[in-house]
Structures are given as structure tokens and as C-alpha cells.
Amino acid sequence: MEAIFDNFDAVLKGFGYTLFLFLVCAVVSLVLGTILVAMRVGPIAVLSRAAAVYVTLVRNTPLVMVFFFFHFAGPKIGINFNWVDVHVGGFDFTSAFSTAVVALSLYTSTFVCEALRSGVNSVPLGQAEAARAIGLPFTGTMTEVVLPQAFRASVPPLASTLIAMLKNTSVAGVFYLAEALATMRGFTKDYADQRWGILISFAIGYIILVEVVSLIAHRMERRWRIA
């Protein structure tokens, strides 16, 4: 276990990158996913179909291929993030980080879209009809009846999506971001004799992060549960 304790600052820094990546991607993919679902369930057939095609394509592409695109193909056609150069504390947010954010967010937003859509689909049609019947206008129907229920119903699938995304941040480690997985990779190479200790330490790190996210999701779910 000396490998872990002697290099504990490196471990912390790795998980720090993981956490930053998770937080930034969570915000970006929630925003993108909301835009996608608005197109998807909206009344304009063209937009709905375009969003459906995009979601189907990206959902079925492996995340590694999305990273491939932004890492290898992107720079060839002028998509690059070399202009990003932010340093906060000991953390560098440069092109490796931005590439990871873009790839991971584009990928996750399609799953966010599906999670939100399942929430909207879970609201029975009768609810809206009843709201109209008692004379609520469109805004009233939406804000008082439909959206609150849709929002509550989509908390569990959204949480699953975010947890999957948290685990997916590890892919960025393969593409030159020194997050937790990349740190572990270095350790297993250098201290092969302590491999089980290393695996278990990093696994516990990920499990703690995952449990925190699922705990928050549980709290929200319980608070907003439909009576």
C-alpha cells in the first residue's frame, strides 16, 4: 500500500480532475440534453426528427469513438481546443480537459435527453386534459400540472445517467488527461507488486464518488416523490 500513501497527493489530484470533469460535464450535458428534449417533444416535426436521428446515432457510438473524433479527426478539420489555457490552483484546464468535456458532454446529453423524455412520457394524457377542463391556460397546465410531474419522474433515470457519466470520465484518462484512471495506470505500471492494494484504493475512490451522487439523487427523489 506504500504506493498509495507515498503518492497520496497524486491520487487526490487525479480524483480532483475526475471531479472537475464530472461537474463541468454534468452542467453542460444537462443543458444540451434539455435543448435536445425540447426539440424532441416539441411540435415541429423537422426538429423532432433531427434530434431523434442525432440521439440514435450518438447513443450507439462508443464513447471511445467520440473521443477519437475530437482527439484525432477534429484537429484535421479545424476543431481544436488549443486556445483553452486556464490554470486554477495546481490544476491545468487545457486542451486535454476541454476535449474531454466536449466529447463526454455530447455523448451524455443524448442519454439525458432520453431520461427527460421518459419523464415527459410518464405523465398520463388525462392529466393535461383535466387541467384544460378546469380552465387552466397553456402556461398553467405546463407549470402547475405537467412539468412538475415530468421533472419528478425523470430524477431516477437522470441520476443513473449522471452516475454512468461519472464512471465514463475514466475514458478521458486514455486521452492524456491525468485524472484518476491515468494515475492508477501509472501506479500499476510502477508498483506491479502492490497491484491489488492499488486497484482497491482507486475502486473505493470511485465508489465513494458514485455513492455521493446516488445519495443526493435519493434525497431529491424522496423529497419530490409524487404523493
Partner: protein, 293 residues
């Protein structure tokens, strides 16, 4: 759009407005596509040189071999995962805490971990120096091949354990009660009454898990495992045709996955009928008990 919970059926004014929106949206979408095509053209990505490799029989057969390896990694992993899931799922339903709790711990541990973590670990800790030529796998990639299969088996096995548990719970209670009533033992009830019915319900979920496994085989890129991603990488390195290669390889993955999804829907219609498919809880929601069907 009639029948949507979000909107009223549109009247004439709204329909006219929607037509305008449709026009604007179509123009915008076409503009985006046109811009992308123009960009690719301007950078010379449509030149035959860059695409030639995908019309060369030798490389086509290499890509086909990549597809074969990718699919076989997914198949091996899913077979392993089904066996592991079966054992752990049944163990989680056991009446004895001594069996139930370790199974629970194993499932939770492997589900909360990134697959890539397992893959990297097994590769660098065990398989890095394994070199053996087996079947159609090149000698130097056997280690990567093994790490991918082991990691995917452990991860998907843990996920499938939950599927199995949910599947067994989804079999109507009366079935088990009736079996006990005619004097069957616990093991008999599980193997002859519950599991056969549960597997029928679970089949679509297992096939969708295959889509996940197939997508995740691409993570093998990190451990130099053979397969589509690896072939793509080799082609990119040799011909420096990054854009066409990524597009072609991604398209193959999408097609494979869509075929599998289509198969899952077909099986679902055949075996489960119009009932809601089995939903698998993710990490964190697992302890709340069986998913209601």
C-alpha cells in the same frame, strides 16, 4: 401535435406558425449539414486517396476481422456475464445471509467501478506479458483480448445479477407458492419453476446488455486489445486519414448496435408481448427492492 400531453391540438393560426418554424428549422439544419460538408471539402477530406483504403480488399478483410473480434469479445463477455449473473443473482435471493451478503457486496463493488479501471488493472497487473496465438487473435494482442473479456464479464455480470434478481421477482408469486404447495424443494422451485420463466422475461434485457458490452469492447483501445478500434487506429497511423477512418469505424459500430437493438425489440415482442420491458436499476437504486413491473 395531437395526443401530446404538452400541447393542445393546433388551430389554423398555430399550424401556420408551425409551418414557418418548420421552414426556418429545415433551412438551419440544411445549413449546418452544408457547412460540415463544405468544411470537409475545403480540408480535402473527400479526396480519393484518403478513402482508398476502404475500397482495398486486403484492408476490408482486416476491418472485417476487426468486426469479428469485436463481436466475439462481446459474445464471450456476455456468456461469462450471464453465468456470473445467474450465480450471483440466485445467491442474492438466498435465504441465508452468509450467501446473500457476499453476493451483494461483489455486485455493488463491480457495478460502481468504471469498466476501464478493471480493464487497465487486469492488463497491467496480469496480462501485459501474455503472448499466445489463439484462434484468430494475433499473438501480441492476446493479453488485451483477455483483459477486455475479464473486465466486461465482471462488470456486466454484476449488472446482470440485478437483472436476474428483478426477473425472478417479476414472476408472479403464485407460481412459487403453487410449486411449494405440491411439495417441491427450494432448489427445485428455483430451477424448474422460477428461472425458466424469469429468463424469458429477461432475454431482451440481456440483449440490450450486449449492446453495452459491444460498445464497451472499444475501451480495449486503452490496453491495445484487438478489434475495430484497434484496426481503426492502425489505419489512421498508416494513412493519416483520421476523419474518414473515424467516420467509417463509428458507422460500423452504430450499425452493429442498431441490429442488436432491433433483435432485442423482436425478441421482446415474441416473448414478453406488449408488457413493459424489465427495467434494471442502476447503482444506488439497487437496494430499494425489486423493480415493479
Amino acid at each position: 401535435m395531437a395526443g401530446s400531453v404538452l400541447f393542445d391540438a393546433p388551430g389554423p393560426v398555430t399550424r401556420a406558425r408551425h409551418r414557418v418554424y418548420t421552414l426556418v428549422a429545415s433551412v438551419a439544419i440544411l445549413a449546418v449539414i452544408a457547412f460540415a460538408v463544405w468544411r470537409l471539402q475545403a480540408d480535402g477530406q473527400f479526396e480519393y486517396d484518403l478513402w482508398e483504403v476502404f475500397f482495398t480488399p486486403d484492408y476490408l478483410s482486416a476491418i472485417l476481422e476487426g468486426v469479428l473480434i469485436t463481436v466475439s469479445m462481446a459474445v464471450f463477455a456476455v456468456i461469462g456475464a450471464v453465468l456470473m449473473g445467474l450465480v450471483l443473482g440466485v445467491a442474492k435471493l438466498s435465504d441465508h445471509p452468509v450467501i446473500r451478503w457476499p453476493a451483494w457486496a461483489v455486485v455493488e463493488f463491480f457495478r460502481a467501478m468504471p469498466v476501464l479501471l478493471l480493464m487497465t488493472f487486469f492488463f497491467f497487473a496480469y496480462f501485459i506479458s501474455v503472448e499466445r496465438e489463439v484462434l484468430f487473435i494475433p499473438e501480441e494482442s492476446w493479453g488485451g483480448f483477455l483483459s477486455v473479456i475479464v473486465a466486461l464479464t465482471l462488470y456486466n455480470g454484476a449488472v446482470l445479477a440485478e437483472v436476474f434478481r428483478a426477473g425472478v421477482n417479476a414472476v408472479p408469486k403464485g407460481q412459487a407458492e403453487a410449486a411449494y404447495a405440491i411439495g417441491m424443494r427450494k432448489t427445485q422451485v428455483m430451477t424448474t419453476i422460477l428461472l425458466p420463466q424469469a429468463i424469458k422475461i429477461m432475454l431482451p434485457a440481456i440483449i440490450s446488455q450486449m449492446v453495452v458490452a459491444l460498445k464497451d469492447t472499444s475501451l480495449g483501445y486503452a490496453v491495445a486489445a484487438p478489434g475495430l478500434t484497434y484496426i481503426g487506429n492502425q489505419i489512421m497511423l498508416e494513412f493519416r486519414n483520421h476523419v474518414p477512418t473515424v467516420l467509417v469505424i463509428a458507422t460500423i459500430y452504430v450499425i452493429l448496435n442498431l441490429v442488436l437493438t432491433w433483435l432485442a425489440t423482436l425478441v421482446q415482442k415474441r416473448l414478453v408481448g406488449e408488457k413493459k420491458p424489465l427495467e434494471v436499476p442502476m447503482v444506488g437504486e439497487a437496494n430499494t427492492g425489486g423493480t415493479p413491473l
